[in-house]
Symmetry: C2
Subunit: 334 residues, 2 copies
């Protein structure tokens, strides 16, 4: 790292002692940062890079981009049930734009502070805009939530109202008929540009959930990872899916496209044994976050979509298999 | 991460159980990898990105590039006295070139295996070639080697024969008169493209060295970091500097340029109290690595270069201050 590069990180990202979280015993500016693991805890590590034009639009507000770059990494910790500790930042910049850097740092560090997650190392290089973050968190030994421990019979839950980020992307692409209102556009745009990592939920479902994943590539695609890793199948009841108020008035096909295949929401998808239904409902209230039961895991491999009620009682119409393109994802089969 | 990207990492970089080191309790392919810290150890973390055209030439052999990308990060662990444990890889690629990926992975993983450092997470994106690595190592609690604990009176030691990587760079630039022989060029080119991180040395000087840094930006520039952080000055004896056999026949000015200001060698610069001189000499033999005493730290701020003998006895000519451009680095003064 050249002196100039070091100065850049130091100037825009390091804070004096007493400002922001301080989890490191040896701070930045040495060859390594050093953190002291809490006894009995294991370290969860994840890494994600955002590249301009591929993961974000060049016009995005830099503060929102700073937020999102860390949020997508915190979301991976959330999906493991890990508490954030620290992160490193590798920034590739086409030029030194001080206003942009100040904005980016403000969004990044505000989210870092909110989760007491310390920036412990950084590296800046010249090149096309890209942001690489490696995040570290702690989880009690043996308690990490995995993709591979879901069981047939588990309920399938999803947090929040997935699909809003995809709705925003389609609005940017100009593909929505009718177009969104200005108010709806700003709301879903904020969800796409400024996602909320479900860290508190990930921590709260330790001991409840058998498996978890964050919805970054789309609900069905990410569910597929759980199915393959856990060697189970799933029934998803489309009429039970949570529908964002911004999607409520849209065509049904568009709703399902957004909810089932839209990525970038960073909600959590959870496999939870049925005996914890009441606890999950209570948790929703405690966290102020919708938690919706959308289906169940089954022993038969593959993914099946159904219309009708998830818990159809006697006399209610029986659920019907849904002939839908989402049901034909062969690569879900284990 | 899209499925395609995941496949790319899985195909070229993940190994089956039993091949390569396995330090993670939860492997790659989940939202996070999970590693179990050894009780009593702290975690040293460093991150470095290599960008094509800036940190390496586009013509470099991909296996050497894979080696170097990890080596520069392991070198940071070495400078902290930390034992490598695991690393993450963020790869930005202009295209999927299978031969290139196979070569890159072979060089990267061979060095990882040699240091029992496991690849625990990865992310691939499309874009101009860049390699971002975050490495984690372990160091006994409170024992990390820092830049800030050097003391006046400490000897200044350097490992190996710094300056060879710079000689190679100048050869690539065509600036050497006379040019290097073919044999010399291949030798110094290997040093530039395939540096050896001094991990064993970093571990061995725990309890001996007060401070350490790896020479990535040039010996005097990196010494400056120790001087500023430790609030001391230094006297460096240029006639005591180790001179590579490939530099031995070169003009003296070129030798000093390469040794004092050449970066990219990844040797270690160490501040060690004089009572450990015999131990350092023995260590050199044990490690098969030259360790050379090149000066001392002094209470007076600033950096002074001297000609003459480092330990001039009675009757020997007194050392003379060296009027040299390297002596005028004002930013070394604390």
């Amino acid at each position: 790292m050249s002196l100039g590069e070091f100065d850049l990180i130091e100037r825009f990202f390091w804070r004096p002692a007493g400002v922001g979280p301080h989890r490191a015993v040896v701070g930045n500016g040495d060859d390594c940062a050093v953190i002291a693991p809490t006894p009995g805890m294991q370290l969860a590590v994840s890494t994600d890079t955002l590249v301009e034009g591929r993961h974000f639009l060049s016009t995005v507000d830099p503060a929102r981009l700073g937020h999102k770059a860390l949020a997508v990494n915190l979301s991976d910790l959330a999906a493991c049930g890990a508490r954030p500790v620290a992160f490193t930042l590798a920034l590739t910049l086409p030029r030194v734009d001080e206003a942009w850097l100040a904005g980016f740092a403000s969004g990044l560090l505000a989210l870092a502070d909110a989760h007491e997650c310390e920036l412990i190392g950084g590296d800046t290089t010249a090149g096309p805009l890209a942001i690489g973050i490696t995040v570290m968190g702690e989880v009690p030994a043996g308690q990490a939530l995995l993709r591979s421990r879901a069981q047939a019979g588990d309920d399938l839950w999803v947090s929040g109202t997935p699909g809003e980020a995809r709705l925003a992307l389609e609005a940017f692409r100009g593909s929505l008929r009718p177009p969104l209102s200005g108010e709806a556009f700003e709301a879903v745009r904020a969800r796409m540009e400024c996602p909320t990592p479900r860290v508190a939920l990930g921590l709260a479902v330790q001991g409840l959930a058998h498996a978890a994943i964050d919805v970054s590539d789309g609900l069905l695609g990410d569910l597929g990872h759980i199915l393959r890793r856990s060697r189970v199948g799933a029934a998803v009841f489309v009429d039970a899916l949570p529908v964002s108020p911004w999607l409520a008035g849209r065509p049904r096909d568009e709703q399902l496209d957004c909810v089932l295949a839209g990525g970038d929401d960073y909600e959590l998808l959870l496999a939870v044994p049925p005996e914890h239904r009441a606890r999950m409902a209570a948790l929703s209230g405690e966290l102020g976050l919708p938690l919706t039961r959308i289906g169940r895991l089954e022993a038969e491999p593959g993914l099946r979509l159904w219309t009708g009620a998830l818990d159809a009682g006697a006399g209610a119409p029986a659920p019907q298999p849904m002939p839908h393109r989402w049901a034909s994802f062969d690569h879900f089969k284990s």
